[in-house]
């Protein structure tokens, strides 16, 4: 299976290397523009303000990274698998379905996102170095700003202890894989909209009442103040456990469905 994945990777790289390189360059360019556009007007304000602003930009850039990852998956996953004219369709290449699916997952959920993140990291480092060089007074406070890593690994209710931005990236990837697995166009559009709706209606919040699927959590200024269970026979800890299983089950179910749909795809 590993050998098949390597062969598939070689096929993909030889055919699409230019597209991949251009995509990554576009990610880096947009990231640089986000920094440049948002920091350009901060020349005359305080260092603390700049640090806060930098933190906000970094948070936006992580959201941009999630969006790029989802869009990349939505546009490229399983591309050419069902095209008989493509000589020959990847679906009929002599490799098992598991290897083909694993390669698509690796490419869209691991390789491209990590490559994009590395470039974003690079742009961020260059930007910070440039700012510190241009305005030495900022050098001390830049280190205190909300870092890219903080934005990436931030946790909060209801997914306490699980970085919600990474979770979102995985969720959108799983949904995009499902959309591209061979669904009919109308079903695919509905699935994409539903995936977005699910993400938006997750009770991501530090300021309002947050909800685990099986535990109500009353939030106040970022802190959970009261917990209550919708059913009396379930302990709070059990409710948490079930909630985490539920949140894990959502992308896993999407991946399983997309794999099954991919396996029965026809040409």
């Amino acid at each position: 299976m590993l050998r098949s994945i390597i062969y598939l990777a070689a096929c993909h790289w030889r055919e699409h290397w230019l597209r991949e390189v251009l995509c990554l360059l576009a990610v880096a360019a947009v990231t640089a523009l986000l920094y440049a556009g948002n920091l350009s007007a901060s020349g005359s304000v305080s260092a603390a303000f700049v640090a806060r602003q930098l933190g906000n930009i970094r948070y936006s850039i992580v959201l941009w990274w999630i969006a790029v990852t989802a869009a990349y998956t939505l546009l490229t996953a399983f591309h050419g698998y069902g095209d008989t004219r493509r000589c020959y369709a990847t679906l009929l290449l002599p490799a098992c379905s598991e290897a083909k699916y694993a390669w698509e997952w690796l490419r869209t959920m691991v390789i491209f996102p990590l490559a994009a993140l590395a470039l974003i990291w690079g742009v961020d480092a260059v930007t910070v170095r440039y700012m510190a060089h241009a305005r030495p007074i900022l050098a001390d406070v830049l280190g205190d700003a909300f870092s890219l890593w903080d934005a990436l690994t931030a946790t909060g209710e209801p997914l306490n202890y699980i970085p919600y931005n990474i979770y979102l990236a995985v969720w959108f990837n799983s949904a995009a894989m499902l959309v591209r697995s061979g669904l009919r166009p109308a079903v695919a559009v509905v699935t994409a909209v539903a995936a977005l709706a699910v993400a938006l209606t997750f009770p991501w919040s530090t300021e309002r009442t947050a909800l685990y699927p099986f535990v109500w959590v009353e939030m106040e200024r970022g802190y959970a103040v009261t917990w209550s269970m919708p059913v009396s026979w379930c302990s709070r800890m059990a409710g948490y456990a079930i909630s985490y299983v539920w949140y894990a089950a959502l992308p896993v179910a999407a991946y399983v469905l997309s794999y099954l749909k991919f396996k029965e795809r026809e040409i």
């Binding site: 055919e15 004219r85 493509r86 000589c87 020959y88 679906l91 098992c96 379905s97 396996k263 026809e266």
Partner: protein, 291 residues
């Protein structure tokens, strides 16, 4: 095959109740009018399409499972092709290594024999050169099941000749080659068996030996002929003398003559029907080839 129904969705059944087996060691001509199900049947054998119902067995594998071993032993050549933007050598290096029996020497030999234009990127090739390239690649893979959909479409006269020569020299021992075509004349003297489809049903599935055993092909119209078109005739082989099978005449006869179809239905056991598909499925159990 056993009671095979296949198509594009449940509401668009193209193949209806196909049964029978094709034997290894033959080059089959897959003939039929437009929409008769030739491409659908090939895709079903290749594993590209799932049967709606019924069963297909190819060398002991279910094509729809798309197991790596099965895919490695099968090559499906579609009628229309598009290639990635690669040079010949790059394509060979990347895609050839998926194929355990791929031969670089044979590939180059076939390309030269077909007078392929080297030096042009694959996605910029003309239709004819695309065909030549993939014919060479498909044969060099040395598959156990080679399915070619209209391989001579777009080939010039010299290339068709070269294709016939190459295919005639292809070692079919333990293999099955199926060539779908509308241009029967292109494959004259090359085929050794034929499958004829008509409106999604298998009308004839027989080797030329079996056909010549039952039918005689004559040059002029005979009074007792099953079919005659003024120039050629087909009659019952009652004296046991073998004549060369004229595929084109046979194809026309099947499509035009109810009498010929009735004769074939009665005398060739390899054809599909509700009753004999069961028998054939039993017959092909344990045999190598496409059942």
């Amino acid at each position: 095959m056993y009671d095979l129904h296949a198509g594009y969705g449940r509401k668009r059944a193209v193949l209806r109740g196909l049964g029978g087996a094709i034997a290894e060691g033959h080059i089959y001509g897959l003939l039929g009018a437009n929409g008769s199900g030739k491409t659908t049947l090939m895709k079903t054998w290749a594993g590209a399409l799932y049967p709606v119902s019924g069963r297909v067995d190819v060398f002991g594998s279910i094509p729809a499972d798309r197991k790596a071993e099965f895919l490695a032993s099968t090559v499906y050549m579609p009628d229309e092709m598009s290639f990635p933007p690669l040079a010949v050598a790059a394509f060979e290096r990347i895609y050839g290594r998926f194929r355990p029996h791929f031969s670089h020497e044979e590939f180059n030999g076939y390309l030269h024999a077909l007078d392929f234009s080297f030096g042009v990127r694959l996605d910029r090739l003309s239709t004819g050169n695309r065909k030549k390239f993939f014919i060479a690649f498909a044969l060099a893979c040395n598959p156990a099941l080679l399915l070619m959909d209209e391989p001579t479409n777009g080939l010039d006269i010299e290339s068709k000749k070269a294709f016939r020569r190459i295919l005639a020299s292809f070692d079919t021992t333990g293999r099955v080659v199926v060539v779908s075509t509308h241009q029967v004349a292109d494959l004259n003297n090359l085929l050794s068996a034929v499958v004829v489809l008509r409106e999604g049903r298998m009308v004839l599935n027989a080797t030329f030996d079996a056909i010549a055993d039952k039918l005689a092909f004559g040059g002029a119209s005979e009074s007792d002929a099953l079919y005659a078109d003024g120039l050629k005739s087909i009659s019952v082989n009652s004296d046991g003398e073998y004549t060369d099978v004229d595929v084109e005449s046979l194809y026309h006869a099947i499509h035009e003559s109810e009498r010929v179809r009735a004769f074939i239905a009665e005398n060739f056991s390899g054809n599909s029907s509700e009753n004999n598909s069961v028998k054939i499925a039993e017959d092909c159990a344990g045999k190598e080839g496409v059942c």
